[in-house]
C-alpha cells in the first residue's frame, strides 16, 4: 500500500537484459476502468527487477520481457496495483489493461497541506471529513458543519451577536491558550486556529465565504505531531481544507443549489407585556415624586393614567417582531469539468445570497474559479484561480433597542406615521426622551461592506523518481474590502448637534496583499519490504501586507441624499485614518516518518521559523515534535483474528507556537506630537514601546490516543488524552505609571490544560454492499485548565474585575481561566428582604465584602459533545445530531442586569418578566429576588450562578440520492436532494437572554445536486 502511494512514476532505468536470454515484446494500452481514458505514466515492470517502462501520452507501452513465466506489474498513484501473470502464451491479453481508482486508499489519507500520510501509519491526532459528511449535517459553511462532527472543534456561541451572518465567530480547537486582553490589544484572536486552503495559508473569512460544494475534504490537525510542521503558527491547531480537483472525462456539468429559510429564535426572551411593565414601573416608584413638589406629582399621576388608558385601549406592542424577518437564503454552484489525462480543467461559478433574520442583514458572495491541471511525463502543473466578490449589509439599529422599547407605546402615531420619540418630556421636566427604534430604522441609514479579491495558487511538481518528488508552490492573494456607513442627519444621535454637523458618512478601505511560496522535496521508499521511510523537507516564505485607511464626513442636510458629495465637511478635529502592517515569515522544515513492517510508527517534525514580528534578538524559533505509534492489529498474534481491522495506539509530544500577534510588536515606534510645534520645528515622542525581550508563547503539547475499528468495521472509536503546558503565557499587564507606559505585553506565569476527547460510532446494521447502514455516534470532550506561577502579575485585572459590574473572571495560581468568582449567597432573607452572604469563613453576613469571593462555578462544562444517528437505506438517508453540555455553570447576566440591578435609567427599558414576579415583598417573602427598587445595588453573588446543562437539536437531515435510472429518465446523470434543519430546538436549565444585538436563528435548508 505504502509503496503504491508514493510510487508515482518510475524513474526509468534502461533495459539491460542478458544476451543469452530469449525475450519477447509486450504491447498494450492502459486505461481507466471508470471512463476508459488512457492513463499516462503508468509504471510497467517485471517482477521486482529493475526493468520497466512507462505508458506514453496515449497510454501505450512496450516492454521487452524474458521469454519465461513472470509477473508483470502495473502501478499508478491512486490506483489499485494490477499484477498479471505472463505464462509465455498470453501476450495478447496484455493489449488492454484496465486499472481502477483505489477509493478506499484515498479516503484513508491524512492531508496535512504539506505532506500526505496514510492514516494507518500517521502518529498524530487528526480527523478527516469528506464533503458528503459535511453536507449531511449542514449547508451553511464548512465550519458550522465541522463543529457538529468533531467535539474538539468549537465555535464560540456569541450571546451578543447571535446568528449574525456577517459576524466572524471565535473558533477554538482544544481550548484556549491565551490570557484575556490580547484580542483587545492586538485585534487578532490569539486562540484562532490556522487555516490552510489547498496548501496555502488563508483567513477565517475566506473559509466562511467558501462555497461548501467546492470542498473535497477537511482535516483537523490537533496534536503536536500533526501540527508541528506549521511551527510557530500551529499551537491552536490547524484546519486543512482541500477543494475538489477536476475529474477527467468528457465535459461534465454539475449544479448544486441550497435553498434555505431562517427564522428568529426569540424563545429566550421573556419580556413584560404592557400591563406588567406599567405595574413594574409603578412599584419601582417611577410615578412617585421624590422632591415633594405637588405639581410634579400631578404630572407623574397624569403620565401614569395616560399610559394606563392606552393599555386599557388594548395597546400592547410587541416590538421584537419589528426588525425580524424570515430570511431566505439561496446558494448556487455550477461546475464544469473534464479533460483527458494530460490536461484536466474545471470552471466553476458560485453565488450565495444569505439573508439574516434581521431586516437589512444580507451577505451576498459571488465566486468564480478556474482549475487547471497539466501533466506531462514527470511534470505536473496545476493552477487554481478564484475570484471573489462580496456584498454585505448590516442593520443599523441593533436588536437590543427593540428589546428595550416599552410595550405601552404605540409604534405609529395617529396618522400612521413614525414619530421620532415614543415619549418626549414637556419643557422644564427633568426627564429623558425615549427614542423610537423605528425612527432610526426607517431613515436612510446604512452599513455596508463590499469586497473584491482573487487568489491564484500555482503548484509545480516534478516526479524525479519512484521515491523522490520535488514540489514548488506559489500563491498570491489580493483582497480589497470597503466598509461604508451612513447615518442620516435625522438620526436621533444628532439631536444635540449643530445644523451643519448632522449626519455622518464614514468609509474604511482595507487592502490586503499576501503571497506565499514553498519549495519542498518528498522522499518515500520501502526498503526490504519492511522499512518504510518518508521524508519531506522544504522552505517556505510568506508575506502579508495590510493597509487600512479611511475618513469620515459630516454635515448632511437631507435624509435622502446620501452620497458623500453632499457632506458639508469633515468632523472637527478629525484626521484621516491610516495604518499599515507588513508581516513576513520564512521557514525551513523537515518531516520524517519511519514505519517498521506497518507495525511500529515513528514521526518527527522540525521547523525553523523566522518572522518579522519577532524581535531582532528572537527572530528565529524552533518547533519540534516527535510522535510514535503501534499498529497492534498488524502484530502476528492478532493476525488470526479478523475482529480488529484497526487497533492503533499513538502518542506525541511537541511545542508548536503561536504567532497571532501584532506586526510591530517588537518595535518601539514614535509619533509626531502633532498638537504643537515650536521655533525648533516638529518634535516626536514615543508612540508604542516594543519589547525585544518578549519570549513567545510556547505550548508543549502531549497527546496519547488510540484508534479502533472492529467488528467488521462496524465500530469506530478514537480516544485521546492530552495535556498542554503553555509557558510562558503572554499577557498585557497594567504597570505602575512610573514605568512610563500604562501597560506592557509581558511573559507571566503558565497555564496547564488537560483534557480528553472521544468519538464513538457503531453501526448495528451494516450492509455496505446493499447500501444499508445505520449508525449511532457519540462524541465527547472535556478539559480543565489552571494557571500556575502567575503570582501577582494580574492583580490589576483582578482588582478591576472585583470592582466591575459583572466581571467574574479572576487570575490566581491554581485557578481556572473559566472559573466564576463571586461571593456565596444564602438567598434572600424572608424577614428583611436583604441578601444574606456567606463569608469566606462560613459565617453569614448581610454586608457584602468583595474579599469573600470564592469559586462558585465554572463556565467550562464537565463534559460536552454531540450524539446522533444516521440511517442510510439505498439512496435515502435520515439523520439527526444533538449537542449536549453538562456540568458547567453560567453567571446569568440577564437575571443580574434585567431583573435586579435595574438602574434609574434602565427602568424605562422593557425588562424580563421575572423582574416583576418572584420579587421579595411583604406578601411574597419566599422570593428568589430582592424587592423591587431602583436604587438598590445588587452585588455579584452565587445567587446568579446557575447550572448550565443543555441539549440542542443541532442538525436534522433527510437526503435522497435518486437511483441512476430515475435520474437518467429525468435527463440528468445523477441527482440528489437533501433537507437540513439546524438549531431546531434548545433545552437548557438556565434561562438567559441570548442574541442581544442580533437574535439567534433556526433554519431549514433544501439542497439539490445535479450532475448532467
Amino acid at each position: 500500500m505504502m509503496r503504491r502511494l508514493l510510487n508515482i512514476l518510475f524513474f526509468l532505468i534502461p533495459l539491460t537484459l542478458h544476451a543469452q536470454e530469449a525475450t519477447v515484446v509486450l504491447k498494450g494500452k492502459v486505461v481507466d476502468s471508470a471512463d476508459g481514458y488512457p492513463l499516462i505514466g503508468v509504471a510497467v515492470y517485471v517482477d521486482d527487477s529493475k526493468t520497466g517502462t512507462m505508458t506514453d501520452v496515449d497510454g501505450a507501452y512496450e516492454l521487452r520481457i524474458p521469454q519465461r513465466k513472470c509477473e508483470v506489474t502495473f502501478s499508478y498513484m491512486g490506483y489499485d496495483e494490477e499484477i498479471r501473470l505472463y505464462n509465455t502464451k498470453n501476450a495478447s491479453s496484455f493489449s488492454k489493461i484496465v486499472m481502477s481508482m483505489n477509493a478506499e486508499q484515498l479516503a484513508d489519507v491524512v492531508v496535512t497541506g504539506v505532506y500526505e500520510r496514510k492514516k494507518e501509519s500517521f502518529t498524530g491526532a487528526s480527523a478527516t471529513f469528506k464533503t458528503d459528511e459535511l453536507k449531511a449535517v449542514g449547508s451553511t459553511n464548512v465550519l458550522q458543519s465541522l463543529k457538529t462532527l468533531d467535539p474538539s472543534f468549537k465555535m464560540m456561541e456569541s450571546t451578543q451577536f447571535g446568528s449574525n451572518p456577517n459576524m466572524m465567530p471565535d473558533i477554538e480547537i482544544r481550548g484556549k491558550t491565551s490570557v484575556a486582553g490580547l484580542k483587545e490589544e492586538y485585534g487578532t484572536d490569539p486562540n484562532q486556529p490556522l487555516f490552510i486552503l489547498d496548501g496555502f495559508e488563508t483567513t477565517l473569512e475566506t473559509i466562511m465565504n467558501l462555497n461548501m460544494n467546492r470542498v473535497a475534504s477537511v482535516t483537523i490537525l490537533k496534536d503536536a505531531a500533526s501540527t508541528a510542521i506549521y511551527g510557530s503558527k500551529a499551537s491552536n491547531g490547524v484546519v486543512v481544507i482541500e477543494t475538489k480537483a477536476p475529474a477527467r472525462g468528457r465535459l461534465q456539468l454539475s449544479y448544486k443549489g441550497d435553498f434555505g429559510l431562517s427564522l428568529a429564535d426569540l424563545s429566550d426572551y421573556n419580556l413584560m407585556n404592557a400591563r406588567e411593565k406599567l405595574e413594574f414601573e409603578s412599584l419601582a416608584g417611577v410615578y412617585k415624586d421624590h422632591t415633594g413638589n405637588p405639581f410634579a406629582q400631578i404630572r407623574l399621576d397624569n403620565l401614569y393614567n395616560e399610559r394606563l388608558k392606552e393599555i386599557e385601549k388594548g395597546v400592547d406592542t410587541y416590538w421584537l417582531s419589528e426588525p425580524i424577518r424570515s430570511g431566505f437564503t439561496h446558494k448556487h454552484n455550477i461546475y464544469a469539468e473534464g479533460g483527458e489525462d494530460k490536461i484536466r480543467y474545471g470552471i466553476g461559478l458560485s453565488y450565495g445570497d444569505v439573508a439574516g433574520v434581521m431586516k437589512d442583514s444580507d451577505r451576498q458572495t459571488l465566486e468564480g474559479n478556474v482549475d487547471l491541471i497539466y501533466r506531462s511525463g514527470k511534470f505536473q502543473f496545476s493552477n487554481k484561480l478564484s475570484i471573489n466578490w462580496l456584498d454585505v449589509s448590516n442593520p443599523v439599529v441593533s436588536f437590543a433597542e427593540y428589546a428595550y422599547a416599552n410595550p405601552y407605546y404605540r409604534k405609529y402615531n395617529a396618522d400612521g406615521g413614525i414619530d421620532r420619540y415614543l415619549y418626549y418630556p414637556e419643557d422644564g421636566v427633568d426627564d429623558y426622551p425615549v427614542a423610537n427604534p423605528l425612527w432610526n430604522a426607517h431613515l436612510n441609514n446604512w452599513d455596508k461592506e463590499s469586497g473584491f479579491g482573487f487568489t491564484n495558487n500555482f503548484i509545480f511538481e516534478w516526479f524525479l523518481s519512484e521515491e523522490f518528488r520535488l514540489r514548488a508552490k506559489f500563491g498570491l492573494s489580493k483582497q480589497d474590502d470597503s466598509e461604508q456607513t451612513r447615518l442620516s442627519p435625522l438620526h436621533t444621535q444628532f439631536d444635540d448637534v449643530g445644523e451643519t454637523e448632522k449626519g455622518l458618512y464614514s468609509h474604511t478601505q482595507i487592502d490586503e496583499l499576501s503571497y506565499e511560496g514553498d519549495v519542498a522535496a518528498t522522499f518515500g521508499k520501502l526498503i526490504a519490504k519492511k522499512h518504510m521511510i518518508n521524508a519531506v523537507g522544504g522552505f517556505n516564505f510568506s508575506s502579508l501586507q495590510r493597509q487600512v485607511y479611511g475618513y469620515s464626513a459630516n454635515g448632511f442636510t437631507d435624509d435622502r441624499f446620501d452620497a458623500p458629495s453632499f457632506a458639508n465637511g469633515y468632523p472637527s478635529g478629525g484626521s484621516p485614518n491610516y495604518s499599515q502592517s507588513l508581516k513576513r515569515a520564512a521557514s525551513f522544515y523537515v518531516n520524517g516518518g519511519y514505519v517498521y513492517d506497518d507495525r511500529y510508527l515513528m514521526d518527527f517534525n522540525y521547523r525553523l521559523d523566522g518572522a518579522s514580528m519577532f524581535g531582532t534578538g528572537n527572530r528565529f524559533r524552533n518547533t519540534w515534535s516527535v510522535g510514535t505509534g503501534w499498529n497492534v492489529h498488524k502484530e502476528p498474534f492478532m493476525q488470526n483474528s479478523d475482529f480488529f481491522s484497526l487497533l492503533k495506539i499513538r502518542g506525541s509530544v511537541g511545542n508548536p507556537g503561536n504567532q497571532n500577534f501584532s506586526a510591530y510588536q517588537a518595535f518601539s515606534t514614535y509619533k509626531f506630537n502633532g498638537w504643537m510645534t515650536n521655533v525648533f520645528g516638529t518634535g516626536v515622542i514615543l508612540n508604542a514601546l516594543g519589547n525585544t525581550q518578549l519570549a513567545w508563547q510556547e505550548t508543549v503539547n502531549y497527546d496519547i490516543g488510540t484508534d479502533l475499528t472492529f467488528w467488521g468495521e462496524r465500530v469506530n472509536v478514537t480516544l485521546d488524552y492530552y495535556w498542554k503546558h503553555t509557558d510562558p503565557l503572554l499577557a498585557v499587564i497594567t504597570t505602575p505609571g512610573s514605568m512610563g507606559v500604562t501597560s506592557v505585553a509581558m511573559n507571566a506565569g503558565s497555564q496547564k490544560t488537560q483534557g480528553w476527547e472521544t468519538t464513538f460510532r457503531i453501526s448495528p446494521i451494516y450492509r455496505p454492499r446493499e447500501g444499508i447502514n445505520w449508525n449511532i455516534s457519540f462524541n465527547a470532550t472535556s478539559s480543565r485548565s489552571v494557571y500556575a506561577n502567575i503570582g501577582d502579575s494580574f492583580s490589576a485585572l483582578n482588582e478591576s474585575g472585583k470592582t466591575s459590574l459583572a466581571g467574574t473572571t479572576r487570575y490566581y495560581d491554581g485557578g481556572s481561566p473559566t472559573a466564576i468568582w463571586a461571593v456565596r449567597s444564602a438567598g434572600i432573607d424572608p424577614a428583611t428582604g436583604k441578601e444574606l452572604f456567606i463569608k469566606k469563613d462560613g459565617t453569614y453576613s448581610f454586608t457584602y465584602d468583595v474579599n469573600d469571593e470564592v469559586v462558585v462555578g465554572d463556565t467550562q462544562p464537565k463534559i460536552e459533545g454531540l450524539f446522533g444517528t444516521m440511517l442510510y437505506y439505498k439512496g435515502l438517508s435520515v439523520g439527526c445530531y444533538f449537542r449536549y453540555r453538562w456540568g458547567g455553570q453560567v453567571f446569568n447576566s440577564s437575571l443580574f442586569q434585567k431583573v435586579e440591578n435595574i438602574g434609574t435609567q434602565d427602568v424605562y427599558n422593557n425588562q424580563d418578566k421575572r423582574a416583576l414576579y418572584d420579587r421579595w415583598s411583604e406578601n411574597n417573602r419566599e422570593a428568589y429576588f430582592k424587592g423591587i427598587s431602583m436604587v438598590q445595588k445588587t452585588e455579584k453573588s452565587s445567587r446568579f450562578v446557575m447550572d448550565d446543562n443543555s441539549v440542542v437539536g443541532e442538525s436534522f437531515n433527510l437526503g435522497y440520492e435518486f437511483p441512476d435510472r430515475v435520474a437518467r429518465r429525468m435527463g440528468v446523470g445523477a441527482m440528489n436532494l437533501q433537507l437540513t434543519m439546524t438549531d431546531v430546538f434548545r433545552v437548557s436549565t438556565v434561562r438567559v437572554e441570548r442574541g442581544i444585538d442580533y437574535p439567534f436563528a433556526r433554519s431549514v435548508t433544501m439542497s439539490l445536486g445535479i450532475t448532467f
Binding site: V519, G537, S612, N673, F680, G681, I685, L686, S738, M739
Partner: protein, 481 residues
Amino acid sequence: MRRIFTYIAASVLLLTSCDAWLDVKPYDKMSQDELLSDEEGFIKLLNGIYIELNSDMLYGGALSVEMIEIMGGAYVIGTDNAVWGNYSDLASYQYGTEYWRSRFNETWNKAYSLILNCNLLLENLETTGVAFTGQNYKVIKGEALALRAMLHFDMLRLFGPVFSRNADLPAIPYYKAYTIVPNAQMTAREAAEEITNDLLEARILLANDPVRTEGTRLDAPTDGSSTFMYYRNLRLNYYAVTALLARSSLYFGDSKAAYEYSTEVIKAAETVFPFVDRSLVTGSPADPDRIFSSEVIFALSHTQRNKLFKNYFDPSRIPNYVFRMDNDLMSSKVFGGGSLTGGNQDDYRYRVNWVATGANRYFYKYSDMVETGNIRNTMIPMLRLGEMYLIAAESRSEDIGAGLAYVNMLREKRGVGNLQQLDRQILQYEYIRELYGEGQLFYMYKRMFSPVLFSTIDSKNPQPSDAIFTVPLPDTETENR
C-alpha cells in the same frame, strides 16, 4: 541523496540571507531605528519632550498655574460647586477624591512617560553610531539628563515627604533606564542624590553651551537651517541647569551649594539674562513685557499660552471661576503694608500684572503682548533670575537677615525701595511677588514647612502638616507593583 543535501543546503543559505528580508520597518509609524538614524532624529525627539512639557497635565496647566498654585494657596477658591467644581476639595487638601486622584495620576503618568522618552533617547545616544556635529552630542545628552532630573525633582517635590523633616521616607522611584520590571521606591534622600548627580553631569556636558559666550541667541536664522543651538532660554541651557541646581540644593537643605549656584547665575546674568528694561514696563503701560522675558533663564514655548489666561485668569470668564489673589492679602501684605511686608503698589510686578476690573484686581501675567507672533507670548517661565536672587538671599547664611542685600538688589530692579531688614515672612512675600502663577509657591511652603499664606487671617491659613504637603502616590503606582 546528494541532491537532497544540495537542496537542504540551498534552503539553509536562503534562510540566513532572508534575515534582512524579515527586517520589516513600519511604514505608518516611525520605528526607533529609522528615527534615530541621524542627528536630526535625536534633535526631534528631544524637542518632542520639550513640547510635551506644555501638556496641561504638566507645565501647561496643572504644574504651573492650576493645580499646584491652588495647593500653594495662591487663589481665592469659592465654595459654589457649580462654579468651582472640584477645586474646593483641592483647596482644602482633600487629595483622596476620585477626581483629584485621577488628576494626580495623569500628571504622574505623563511626567514618567517623558522620563521614559529621555531614557530611550539617552540609551540610544550611547549605542548609536550617528556622527554629531560640533557640540550637539554633549548638548543633547546634557539637556536630556537635565530634563530627566527636572521631572523627577518635581515629582519628588509633589509626591515626596517634606524633605526637611522626613528625607528618609520612601518617596518616588528614579528611572535611569527603561526596564520591564518597575524600579523600587527610593527614599527622598536617595532620589535627591540621583537628581543632583544627573544635574551635575548635565552641567559638565553643557560646559560649552553657546549661552555662556553668545547669550540666549534669539537671532535664529530664518532661512530654514537648523535652529537647534538658538533660543537657548527655551532649553535647559547651562545656566538653567545651574539655576535648577540652586533650586534643588536649597530644597535638599544644602545652602552652601544653593548659594554658590545661584550667585553664579546672578553673575552671568548681567550679560545673558539682563533685568527687564525699565522702559518696557513703565514706558508702554498698555503693552508691558509682563513675564520680564529677558530675565527668564528657562521657559517653555507654548503656542497657545494665551489659553492659560483665557481659561483661568480672564475676568471676562465671570460668572465662571477666575483665579485671583485674595484682596486683603494683596492690598495689605503682598503689594501693601509698607516696610513690614515689603509690599508696595509701585512695584512693577503689581503695576504690570494686576489689572483692576470692578472691585477686584486680576492676574495678567499670561496675557499676550500686542505684537502677535512674538516669542514672548509663548513663554511659560520655568526658572527666572528673580528666584536666584531670593535663593541667594535665603542661602547666604543661617541667618536670613544676611541675605538682605540680594533682596534689595532685586527690589531695586522692581522699582521699589530698600528694605531695612529681612525675615522669613518678608522673604515669602517676596517669593509670592516674584513667582506668583509659576507653580513654585506650594514647594516653598513645603520646603520651609510653614503655613500656606492664603489670607491675612492667620487662622484661615492652612497649618503645615505632612498631610497637606504630601500627595499620596497614585493608585496605579501602588496597586500594580
